[in-house]
Subunit: 328 residues, 2 copies
DNA sequence: CTGAAAGCGCTTACAG
DNA sequence: CTGAAAGCGCTTACAG
């Protein structure tokens, strides 16, 4: 397999290099039998074209970056998984780039992808990155943004309707009989965290009860402490996302509060992990797989006609074991 | 930034293209002031070298694939996270490749990485892939294997001492007073699952109690059902990994068994997620970050002198809230 | 439909 | 220490 290039295939097949190139890249431009012969020879030799050389010549590759702040966050892991498939089906090769929410890292990836001739990229930004700054990069123009609404820059976006999601959680809880419903923000890193919090404040009847609004992994612990210290406790809690819900339930349990007997908890995301939590988590599901494939479509559309679509998907309620009626 | 190539920098700096190349790639081969001048001009123009063109010419790149079966498994996610950093520090660019445990996908990645001139790769194989078959690929010779012992092919490996890990779990449980200690295998996908099971059988005093040995995500549920149906139940359970432990605890809880009051559970992996589980999981920690950087070192060592090192790391017990003494 | 030529952006012996 | 030349593995107008 050493030194297998287009020229050795050409020689072996008795044609010119350019004909071999066409046989692979523009089959309709080659006589059928010539092409078949070339392909057979290539197959026999075990030849495949060098994507490197192709990208250099064509000035475009099939490498598509997915830029996320943290892959150990299961939301991004699930996104990465489904997008790998969505990209593969369309002939792209997804390249996962993890930034840790860092501006400089993000910028580094953008210039790298530019020089790798990536046709476009998908970014799920953390709050710490400034989209407008990203747009200063050449590659910024070819980005589509997931999970963050940003209409002002001609950037295509795909998000889930945060307000509708919080509404679903409220409807479910109220139908169970809950009236005092608290909220825990926490592990931010995404702009949707803010949208969800806003929706909660709008939809809460009476006084909103925000147990914690921190953005770190200790939010659950603080929320539980706050809850324990309250005189008039809420009977149910909505968490800004599933990871926060896990933390809240766990911290609540270590203080002796049982879910859902003592207090109901609803998450937001619909992570597969939630089904295996103790108790299995009732949550608002985001259609993660759809987000991935739609992001790719938006990117292709923008490349084709310059249009920046903004797709908002509908969330869905997943009722499991972390919610029940309030104590009589 | 359009059409910025080595030649425009050369022209602007008044030197030959080859001098610009050296200024970047072999600084000691250029007179200091020439180099500084070139670098200044490049900086002003916003020029960086094309990694594509470099790889094509040098026949080696800095792209290092990390091949894992499933990124939504937090073990692989944590591995990916720490390896991204370890690779970055050494001047490599980690490229995450997700196979879903599929042979064909894996093979596809190997040929792709070969044609991208990757210097080496790291693979955390699922049980379904045959390492020996992988070695048939040119790129197979440049692989280092994580979490799977495989001495027979000159492949470097880095693993954790499974037997020692299980031993730690037993020691902890026995010191708490447990005598009947069960085991749940499950979510395999890794060869270490087998090693851990073997260690359990060896170390169990009296009759081993294997509650479930399945390899799917339902293992927890079946194990809990089995447990509930037993006359003489174990007072503690060791799970083959943290994800299985989560499933077992959750399924146990839904049948009314409380952890650790009714039964203690120990996991294996040391996932960050375990600290936020309900209850926080006692577990055998694998030094995931070390595994990543050692894998890279082994790969570099093999590239340098052809040697295939086999590193076995020590696990460590993390005592949290899922274990306690047995019911009196 | 096929071939010959130029060139994508680099590197690296080889001279000087 | 620097330059000129050849070449990595391809693609794509341009002829024929």
């Amino acid at each position: 397999m050493a030194d297998l290039s287009i020229d050795v295939v050409a020689r072996e097949a008795g044609v010119h290099r350019s004909t071999v190139s066409r046989a692979f890249s523009r089959p309709e431009a080659v006589k059928a039998e010539t092409r078949e012969h070339i392909l057979r020879v290539a197959e026999k030799l075990g030849y495949t074209m060098s994507p490197l050389a192709q990208a250099l010549r064509r000035k475009t590759s099939t490498l598509v970056p997915l830029i996320v702040p943290d892959i150990t966050n299961p939301f991004f892991a699930e996104l990465a998984k489904t997008m790998t498939e969505a990209a593969g089906e369309r002939g792209y090769q997804l390249m996962l780039c993890v930034t840790n929410g860092d501006d400089v890292q993000t910028a580094g990836y953008l210039t790298a992808m530019q020089s790798l001739y990536a046709p476009f990229g998908i970014i799920a930004p953390s709050t710490r990155v400034d989209i407008d700054a990203l747009m200063q990069f050449d590659f910024g123009q070819r980005l589509v943004v997931i999970d963050r609404v940003d209409q002002n820059a001609g950037v295509p976006t795909v998000t889930v309707d945060s307000r509708r999601g919080i509404e679903l959680a409220f409807e479910h809880l109220r139908s169970l009989g809950h009236r005092r419903i608290g909220y825990v923000s926490g592990i931010a890193g995404t702009h949707t965290a803010q949208d969800r919090m806003d929706a909660y404040r709008d939809l809460a009847e009476g006084e909103p009860i925000v147990l914690d609004s921190g953005a770190d992994s200790e939010a659950g612990g603080r929320a539980a402490a706050h809850f324990a210290a309250m005189a008039d406790r809420p009977t149910a809690i909505i968490a800004a996302n599933d990871m926060v819900a896990f933390g809240v339930i766990s911290a609540l349990a270590s203080r002796g509060f049982r879910v859902p007997e003592d207090v109901s908890v609803v998450g937001f995301d619909g992570l597969a992990l939630g089904a295996r939590f103790n108790p299995a988590l009732t949550t608002v599901r985001q259609p993660i797989a759809d987000m991935g494939s739609i992001a790719i479509e938006l990117a292709e559309k923008k490349a084709a006609d310059g249009s920046a679509g903004h797709i908002v998907l509908e969330p869905e309620l997943l009722v499991r074991a972390s919610t029940a009626g309030p104590r009589p």
